[in-house]
Symmetry: C2
Subunit: 260 residues, 2 copies
Amino acid sequence: MPVVKQNRMSKKPLILITNDDGYKADGYNRLIKLMRPLGDVVAVSTLESTSAMGHAVTMQTPLRLNKIKEEEGYTEYLSNGTPADNIKLGKHLLLNRMPDLVVSGINHGSNAAINIIYSGTMAAALEAAMDGIPAIGFSVDEYGQHPGLDHTDEVILKITKKVLADGLPKGIALNVNIPKKSDKPLKGIKVCRQAEAVWKETYEERTDPFGRKYYWMSGIFLDGDQRPDTDEKALKDNYVAVVPSQVDFTATQLLNTLKF
Amino acid sequence: MPVVKQNRMSKKPLILITNDDGYKADGYNRLIKLMRPLGDVVAVSTLESTSAMGHAVTMQTPLRLNKIKEEEGYTEYLSNGTPADNIKLGKHLLLNRMPDLVVSGINHGSNAAINIIYSGTMAAALEAAMDGIPAIGFSVDEYGQHPGLDHTDEVILKITKKVLADGLPKGIALNVNIPKKSDKPLKGIKVCRQAEAVWKETYEERTDPFGRKYYWMSGIFLDGDQRPDTDEKALKDNYVAVVPSQVDFTATQLLNTLKF
């Protein structure tokens, strides 16, 4: 595998980028373009979408890596892994030192509320944060192949430059969700908590050409969280929602009451 | 697809079971055997291991379901989905009402500390909890195809019976990790917090028969958490570790200090 190390003497920040919509996605390519003036960039993604992979890592099949582009200050790879794999592969096989920043996205579709747990975009950011690397996942609240993205540039650069300058506490990744493009300007940036909202799935039953049944999952998103400081509320009010996020599932409120 | 609904008139608890080691796994079959006297059981798993799938759900390929066994009070299915898919499929396509309990496992290998985020076993339990269903993920701290399991029966039944009787707060799943079988008896059950511990991965490079490089991930587990009430500490002291777990990634300690 053609491992190319970054220049050890470079004073520029080293930025590792991935996403979960595949390497051709508009959001990914826009994020790369935004990051390149800020540092040396290494980008690792996949041929196809790995959306909804959550924090999956690849243990059952061999991982492969191919370099597909190399320019001054920029190297791009394709892998057959998940977004979390891509961060691990980047750290261990593609870089000669820990990156100064991991950015993931721009995801086509919101990762606010419960979506964070299904999100490959945020899995990549959290994977980096767990290893002490400042990390940000960017998503825009519009699904589809070509979401409006030009309203996201300013806020992405603002947040990224702040994190490059100040760092983040160990273990913290920012879950940044940007409202869908509209004719109204963004109102600003709000630091929020993850909303308690759920998906109610439905399954569409189809029959394949060989007469066998199969199913596609879809669903509707139900946000019943009335708290004033949630990411869903911020998005609805046309603010950029930033949730400082960490991997601690402990329901600490029960530590003293649960007994066996 | 041969959907068989449970008997609507049954007074027995309805228990949905899955795992991530495949339907032949010792832990899964032991868990089914333990649950059957407690209620009507529907089990859904996969042909092969889906270990380390995290909270992945299947969006890119069609889902399939096949009934492979039907006995009084017991139905078993195979799917081609992830553990989280299996809970969603179970709820929507296989049961005529919400289950009273979801149990997942017995996983071959610990899901304590950071392992919870990679764990299909716990993804299934959390998926149920997010929908308000009491849920428990059981794991034994021994990897391999045939871990010692007979020491787990008593504690699994004790915890399960308590959850069936008392329920769990909405959104809570129990992450239950049981020490590896040894000649010392288990000391008891401790309610714990998730330890801050990390994996340091290594990648083994191999060459396939066609001359192409590929990689297998492995790693070592580093537990540097000195707090007295972690799941890792409990396991080391030969206690069963129970972490009440929920899906809220918000780093609430930063909500008032982070500014943009």
